[in-house]
């Protein structure tokens, strides 16, 4: 379980961004999360609340957008989704596809700042 240290990194990053913009605090942090990031959504949400305590983010919300794995299918020559994380094959033609384009995201995309 490393979600607490990930949550603390999110809080640090958000505090830094808020301070840079002269905001006294943050209401919402938007996060993009890929299935290959190695981070579990539920554990992260639980850890986030703890990580926010006694920081300018206390009481803020973490909104997680879970994004799918996207691969470059060598046969279709297109961006494709996969059958599942246990089967990295093109969802359309079934070819095994090692080239991953998206799915490792662990990214703060936006924030709502407290006025």
């Amino acid at each position: 379980m490393h979600e607490l240290s990930i949550a603390m990194s999110i809080v640090d990053l958000a505090c830094e961004e808020a301070e840079m913009r002269g905001a006294p605090g943050v209401d919402v942090v938007y996060l993009k999360l890929g299935p290959l990031s190695g981070v579990v959504k539920e554990a992260l949400l639980f850890s986030y609340e703890i990580a926010c305590q006694q920081t300018p983010l206390e009481g803020s919300k973490l909104l997680i957008e879970e994004v799918p794995i996207v691969v470059n299918c060598p046969v279709c020559r297109e961006r494709r989704s996969v059958q599942s994380i246990q089967s990295l094959c093109c969802a359309i033609c079934g070819t095994p596809t090692p080239e991953i384009l998206e799915g490792r995201e662990l990214m703060v995309t936006a924030m709502e700042l407290r006025p």
């Binding site: 379980m1 002269g22 938007y30 990031s37 994380i85 936006a110």
Partner: protein
């Protein structure tokens, strides 16, 4: 007074700090001509036994060193030091994985130019290490025959993050009725095209092939082979 919009775009990786350090480490390894390889596996898959054997065998021909991460104790470093290779223990305390900063800190005082291979043994854990780039050139995931053929399907993220899979404890395969075909199929399902090697650190079976594989990877060994010819 300028009123900033309440909603602001950020687009920053949460592990940016780790990624920046990892990139710097990778560059340092490249400049020094050392091949850095990290090992990940569940606890008890045989990382330390495998590494002890590897260091002992490589030590006669190459300059090798190892970093080994554990939550507590220096037992693994003591075991690995029997190989005569320089070894440093990273004690993570309560942290369940290594991070690039831990690797960077422990490298202080080491001249990487003196090394050919640097092995980094991660904490035994198939979940958390997958998120952290350590600056390694290659990540090996170890899977022992006693663990069950579906390990790759249960932990797809770490298998996907690795470059090479090593099936360990092959001497026990028959006793536990290990299904190698199924295991290889499962590995390919979560990481298509991944190279798979099978060996036993105890008996030495498969070690010569593994060493040959390692030597092929190392840029300096290519040069050495060319000179020898």
């Amino acid at each position: 007074m300028i009123v900033e919009p309440r909603l602001v775009e950020v687009r920053k990786n949460v592990l940016k700090q780790n990624d920046v350090l990892a990139r710097a480490l990778r560059e340092r390894f490249r400049e020094a001509g050392v091949l850095a390889i990290s090992l990940v596996s569940s606890p008890g898959a045989g990382k330390t036994a495998f590494l002890e054997r590897t260091l002992t065998l490589l030590h006669t021909r190459y300059k090798v060193a190892a970093l080994v991460g554990d939550l507590a104790t220096e037992n693994d470093a003591a075991r690995l030091a029997r190989s005569q290779a320089p070894v440093k223990q990273i004690i993570t305390g309560t942290v369940c994985h290594l991070e690039a900063a831990m690797v960077q800190n422990v490298l202080d005082g080491w001249n990487l130019r003196d090394l050919d291979f640097l092995f980094i043994e991660n904490v035994g854990n198939l979940v958390c290490p997958s998120s952290y780039d350590l600056g390694e050139d290659l990540r090996f995931v170890l899977l022992s025959v006693t663990e069950g053929e579906d390990k790759p399907l249960k932990y797809p993220t770490i298998f996907n993050s690795a470059d090479v899979a090593i099936i360990t404890k092959s001497d026990l395969a028959a006793a536990v009725e290990f299904d190698e075909v199924l295991t290889r199929r499962n590995i390919q399902a979560v990481r298509p095209g991944m190279q798979v090697l099978k060996l036993s650190a105890k008996t030495g079976a498969g070690m010569p092939d593994f060493l040959e594989f390692l030597e092929r990877l190392h840029p300096r060994s290519h040069r050495a082979a060319a000179v020898a010819k």
